[in-house]
Amino acid sequence: MHIASGFLSPPVWGTMAAVSGAALAGSLVVARRHLDERRVPLMGVMGAFVFAAQMVNFPILPGTSGHLGGGFLLGILLGAPLGIISMACILAVQSLVYQDGGLEALGANIFVMGVVPCLLGAGVRRLWLRPQPGAIAYGLSLAGGILAVVGGATVVILLLGWSESLPRKVSLIQAIGVMDSIHLAIGIVEGVVSVAVVRFVLAARREAVVGVGDRVSGEETAA
């Protein structure tokens, strides 16, 4: 879903650079205040995992592929600030080293694949920190993964439309319809993979997932 170079107008990419820059700065300030060093290895490992996973394009329809976004997963496991920092790093490396995603579109790409999905993931994070995450955690995470990808795809179309980079023969609504229907399938994969990876990491390294600010019922009195 990386927006390539040359498709966003200067006012649009400038605005998105400012928005994502502010989100990243805010994330760094929060991390500076709260980051427990036991969580740093998990942040590094999950960042490497998401970079690698984004290289694995899977077929969606004949002639179309999709790949994991990963921001939703990082939002659940790391919370929004560390997730946004990690996604910004991944997307910057992809753009600078691998020509994947336009350099001037980096702010837009961080917003679409970092800020939005990380906030959604952070929204369901608390459900996973319960002693026994149940059907609500699974269901809302699947829905959240779909919403993260379809919502991101919608934002991409809005930014392309605002930049007048959409074809004149289709309306904005039609474009969103086409784009969202492709990304609905990708979103289902995103949701399922996110749930599976969160389950695995919680089983293996729960202590690295729980942060300083997290209130976990049943554990708080043990401290």
Binding site: A4, S5, G6, P41, M43, T64, G66, Q99, A223
Partner: protein, 110 residues
Amino acid sequence: MTAYNRWTLIVGVAVALVIGGVVSYFASSAPDGLEKFQEDQGAATPAYPTVETLPIAFQEYNFNGLGEGFWANAVAGVVGSLIVLAILLLVGYALRRRRPPVPRGGSVGS
């Protein structure tokens, strides 16, 4: 670094490297959802000046000099994952609290 953190790193990085270095070679080469949309709608030509980041070491996800085969992809996946790991560890350890605060109410003590 504790043994606990070391194992998190070793196992996690190994998984990432296998996915980035090996599994990704078998990925679909079809355009992704956005590229497909732009091609189908005849909107795949940039309307604004493009900013090119130079393919100094990698041509997209292939290591320069190794063509487009398994090893070119493997080097790209392994190196990219390690770059992200290194940056996040540096940033994370630079930002971390050196001394955990006194546990208050809901925080989990060490």
